[in-house]
Symmetry: D3
Subunit: 69 residues, 6 copies
């Protein structure tokens, strides 16, 4: 499936931390470059996320804030 989201970053899962209802998933999308996602436990299970698995981090352009020093 092609997505309208402008930021599609394929990588590999480096950690999955499940809470009571919400899981945090870290995906390494480039060497030393890790993206953190907060998703439902239900989703983490449905996708079978586990360390080492290939996964893609997806972000809509309207969810990106820009900062300058």
């Amino acid at each position: 499936m092609k997505l309208s989201a402008r930021n599609v970053m394929p990588g590999k899962v480096v950690s999955v931390t499940k809470g009571a209802t919400t899981a945090h998933v870290k995906i390494e999308v480039a060497a030393g470059f890790v993206v953190t996602a907060s998703i439902t436990n239900e989703a983490a299970e449905a996708l079978g996320l586990e360390v080492g698995k290939a996964a893609t981090a997806i972000v809509k352009a309207s969810d990106v804030i820009v900062g300058v020093d």
Copy 2:
């Protein structure tokens, strides 16, 4: 300022496209790795965004979707 947002990606502006009220800004955060942000024109001007300027792309973990093939 330190931010709660888990994804803070410093880089360099590679393009700024202004529309009537909304601007699209592309920031290269690693070699060949570009993040697109959709922000207000007002913000683009307030930050003085222009090609070559250092800028940081910031994304909350709850705004990241995970995909698997």
Copy 3:
């Protein structure tokens, strides 16, 4: 691709309105049930969105607000 987003609603494009940088796309996901998306023009073009085309509206659970009367 399977997505962590809990709301994946396949349907058909019923309108595409492009602005200067932002496009509004309406997708009928059930009879008489239309979802409106605001995406970048760039995305609308990359996906080749046009009236009648099959398309899916995708929403993260954390982006849904609940209201009661």
Copy 4:
């Protein structure tokens, strides 16, 4: 109250799952069509959400991603 959010989907609560701080609420907005919301426990309690109660799922157009196969 009328809302700027373009997607306002009235329905009925079909499940409420509370975690430590975050609750997941499923609302059936059309026959067989269920929307999942992730909200604070505090909100779930303030709204008195429970199975069978009328409730509305609300989504901003800028939070909808579009996909095509």
Copy 5:
């Protein structure tokens, strides 16, 4: 309607700027305290937003980032 969104800030519209598809609306929610919203033109028109009109700014807790110096 009661909303799950934890931040509901009633105020008064102090400006409406329409673009090609997207409008920016500023709402003064306390003396000298202005919140900016980016919404669709369609929504701005449907709500009849204009300077001086009472309006409420609504934000989900999951869309708030926290910063510290």
Copy 6:
């Protein structure tokens, strides 16, 4: 750091509630005016958030919904 987010509200932390993975933080940004943020526990710890500490609530304009009665 200057941010593209149009809503930057400095204040003081009035409560921090940690769950299994997600924390809720309340920041008083004006007298009697409290903003609630839902962030990761990891972020709450990294920022050292605690009652009485100065903190800023940050919201993108595209995450603000407008309501009228």
